[in-house]
């Protein structure tokens, strides 16, 4: 029953998104602009800083993710489907997980474009360890989206929701960003230090588990207004 609700919510979100691709295109373009702004700002004598790739990748994902979260729930609010979702006889945590997976899918689509772009612009061997990079990106995105989905859903009826989402989101997700950047930077080193990557990945996993657990626990009381 739980899995069925998750699948239904996820399918609904993906169907709506695929029909218009509004959030996908705008988020992707914003993320690309972000990377370009960083490239122009940090380029010196025509060469980009060598160690900047990991940080810039994750910052772009964080900014694009905040935008996508805001837009996704704004769409729910405008079409009043959020109230319908809450009135449905479905477990609230299942609705949360469905929304979370939708956001993760959206961000994953952005990352597929961002990673080669950052690798190109900053001459970083991001694609040297594709499997490990994919795992790191997935773990970090889940952690970021877990907190983001909860806060974006909470804020959908608040007055100053657009500016409050980043204000609330970034301090909480800083550990996830730091772990993600350090793991990615370690993967970019010429001599691979797998112990270090595994450590940062374990830390990311811990954050994911803690954040998702806390979000599942609080989604119900927070959405019963």
């Amino acid at each position: 029953m739980f899995a069925r609700v998750v699948w239904l919510v996820l399918r609904k979100d993906l169907t709506v998104e695929v029909r218009s691709l509004e959030i996908a295109y705008t988020t992707l373009f914003f993320a690309v602009s972000c990377v370009l702004v960083f490239a122009f700002a940090l380029v010196r004598e025509g060469r980009a800083p060598e160690d900047g790739a990991a940080g810039i990748l994750w910052i772009s994902i964080a900014f694009a993710g905040t935008l996508a979260l805001g837009r996704a729930f704004e769409r729910e609010r405008q079409s009043e489907t959020l109230r319908a979702l809450l009135l449905a006889p479905a477990a609230r945590p299942a609705i949360y997980v469905g929304k979370l997976l939708g956001i993760v899918a959206l961000l994953a689509a952005c990352e597929i474009v961002l990673v080669p772009l950052v690798a190109l612009l900053f001459q970083a061997p991001l694609l040297a360890q594709p499997l490990w990079l994919a795992i790191v990106l997935l773990a970090g995105t889940i952690g970021f989206a877990a907190v983001g989905t909860l806060f974006a859903a909470m804020l959908v009826r608040a007055r100053t929701r657009d500016v409050l989402l980043p204000v609330l989101l970034y301090p909480i997700t800083v550990p996830v960003i730091i772990a993600g950047v350090r793991a990615t930077a370690t993967l970019l080193q010429p001599e691979l230090d797998m112990d270090s990557v595994r450590f940062w990945l374990a830390l990311l996993g811990c954050f994911d588990v803690v954040f998702v657990t806390l979000a599942l626990w609080t989604f119900e009381p927070l959405m019963t207004d």
Partner: protein, 99 residues
């Protein structure tokens, strides 16, 4: 069912935290070491002209503590005063029968 899920997730967190601690510390020590040696020089090994006088820092720190605590105290007292005055005004209005 939810409680069981949460409990199991917390167990996973505890186990992974305990597991991550042991064998990976040496790796992290190695990762952090070069950075530490570059930046930290014990203060008594610096030449005399680089050494800072401690008194201004100490005085600034203690003054800041006192000022911050006072500022907060005054802020709360002021806000209490505003609300109290408003309450008194409203109560006297209500007593006089005005709405």
């Amino acid at each position: 069912m939810m409680k069981r899920l949460c409990l199991s997730l917390f167990v996973i967190v505890a186990v992974s935290a305990a597991a991550a601690r042991g064998p990976l510390r040496p790796a992290l020590l190695f990762a952090q070491q070069p950075q530490q040696q570059d930046e930290f020089i014990p203060i008594d090994q610096l030449p005399p002209q680089d050494q800072l006088p401690a008194a201004p820092l100490l005085v600034t720190a203690y003054s800041f503590v006192v000022l911050a605590l006072f500022a907060y105290l005054i802020s709360v007292a002021r806000r209490l005063g505003v609300v109290q005055r408003e309450l008194d005004r409203l109560q006297s209005d209500a007593r006089r029968g005005r709405t």
